[in-house]
């Protein structure tokens, strides 16, 4: 028999409803990892304005000459979207850390039977911490 049938990738993401806890943990961990890498580059891009700031470069804000570094940060922090992204960043980082601890335990052979529970716990904790952070992140923002 020379022919056979390969069902290909449809088996993987087309079946997301059938994924189990460990699988979701894996996907979320990869996803948040890539998000954090993306954030780091953005972070460095923003920080690079500090070089100009340190050299005394200025920019005009409301007809006033302001240190360019301070102005960049204040401008970003004034945006609702940026504040929202910060809440998101916290959620992403917290989940990645908690799941990272979970993976560390798994590597050490601790609590293997509770791997799904520890994943749910990471999710719940992430949610709680994120919600609790909202007032702090969103104070004084002009929409």
């Amino acid at each position: 028999m020379s022919q056979s049938y390969n069902r290909g990738l449809i088996e993987d993401f087309g079946r997301w409803k059938e994924f189990s806890a460990g699988m979701w943990a894996w996907i979320f961990h990869k996803f948040t990892g890539w998000m954090l890498i993306g954030y780091l580059f953005t972070h460095i891009a923003v920080l690079s304005t500090s070089i100009g700031g340190a050299q005394g470069e200025t920019t005009m804000v409301d007809g006033e000459a302001v240190n360019i570094y301070t102005a960049t940060l204040q401008g970003l922090e004034g945006l609702f979207l940026v504040r929202l992204l910060e809440v998101g960043l916290l959620a992403v980082a917290v989940f990645h850390i908690l799941n990272g601890l979970r993976l560390l335990m798994i590597d050490l052979g601790v609590g293997l039977d509770a791997q799904d529970k520890s994943f749910y716990a990471s999710l719940v904790l992430t949610g709680a911490i994120t919600v609790a952070s909202v007032p702090t992140f969103l104070t004084g923002v002009s929409v």
């Binding site: 028999m1 049938y5 059938e18 894996w26 798994i106 050490l108 052979g109």
Partner: protein, 289 residues
């Protein structure tokens, strides 16, 4: 190309009263057998009814079946009916071309692993009464389909053989005692890992194995664990085993998704074994000068 064809060729079973009549005495007998009635609620609901199964069909040699599709069968339910019983009934009574593998019918031979309702399971171990209807029965994912529910297992066997799945010991014990005795503790340690029946369910559930054809996969690693942890083998051969396991496509590929552990019909803690071998590999390579 989607396998989830919306229009399966329906092969409704005529509700043959005679046939059902023939079924019930057997069901009665089972009931009288003093079996503990575990699935009572579900099973009694199904009593006297038919079970709707959707079976994946594909046959490269028949023109009409080259395009995969699902066929529907309505099988008269019998108490204690397993998925394997249902497909066997469908084959015997409705369509003799329906192809699948099975042998022992008691979760020992490992030949009837199917993808049932989105999960790798042994057909003979899975009670129909525990499943949501219609019961979708497909061949194992990530393995090429040869015909209907039969997948090509060659690659799986190749991986199993890579880890040299046999006992290797040069020196036999001296004296009269010729058995190679194992301590109780050591037996306990490898106990679970010896239960593997080579069904391939774990390998089929592993996304990493799906993406990396060279990855040894959970079953082979578990097999290696069974021997690497056996104290009767020499240190030397244990090192040799660890060398096989710690190569690029060995234990380090495992990303602890636990899919294999979840589907293993023999409840082998596969992920746990893989993690333990990772630690062994680290220990072997750690040197403090």
């Amino acid at each position: 190309m989607s396998t989830q064809q919306a229009e399966p060729e329906s092969q409704e079973a005529p509700k043959d009263p005679e046939m059902q009549g023939a079924e019930s005495p057997a069901a009665e007998k089972q009931k009288g057998g003093g079996m503990v009635d575990q699935t009572s609620t579900d099973a009694s609901e199904l009593e006297g009814e038919t079970v709707h199964i959707k079976v994946f069909r594909y046959d490269p040699e028949v023109e009409a079946k080259q395009e995969p599709r699902f066929d529907d069968f309505h099988v008269p339910f019998e108490k204690g009916m397993t998925v394997l019983d249902a497909v066997m009934y469908a084959r015997d009574e409705y369509d003799s071309s329906l192809t699948f593998r099975h042998s022992c019918r008691q979760a020992v031979c490992g030949s009837d692993a199917f993808f049932v309702n989105g999960k790798q399971r042994l057909g003979c171990k899975t009670q129909i009464a525990d499943l949501e209807q219609p019961v979708r029965i497909e061949p194992l994912p990530h393995q090429e389909v040869v015909k209907d529910l039969v997948v090509d297992m060659d690659h799986f066997y190749d991986q199993m053989h890579t880890v040299e799945p046999y006992f290797q010991q040069e020196d036999l014990p001296d004296g009269e005692l010729e058995e190679q005795r194992q301590s109780r503790e050591n037996r306990e340690k490898v106990k679970m890992s010896t239960r593997c029946i080579w069904c391939g369910a774990c390998m089929s559930s592993c996304n990493i194995a799906a993406g990396d054809n060279e990855y040894l996969g959970p079953a082979a690693i578990n097999k290696a664990y069974r021997f690497a942890m056996d104290e009767r083998e020499d240190e030397e051969i244990k090192e040799h085993r660890l060398r096989i396991l710690e190569q690029e496509h060995g234990v380090w590929r495992c990303q602890t998704q636990f899919s294999c552990t979840e589907v293993c019909p023999k409840d082998i803690p596969l992920t746990e074994h893989i993690q333990e071998l990772k630690r062994e590999a680290v220990k072997k390579n750690l040197k403090f000068w």
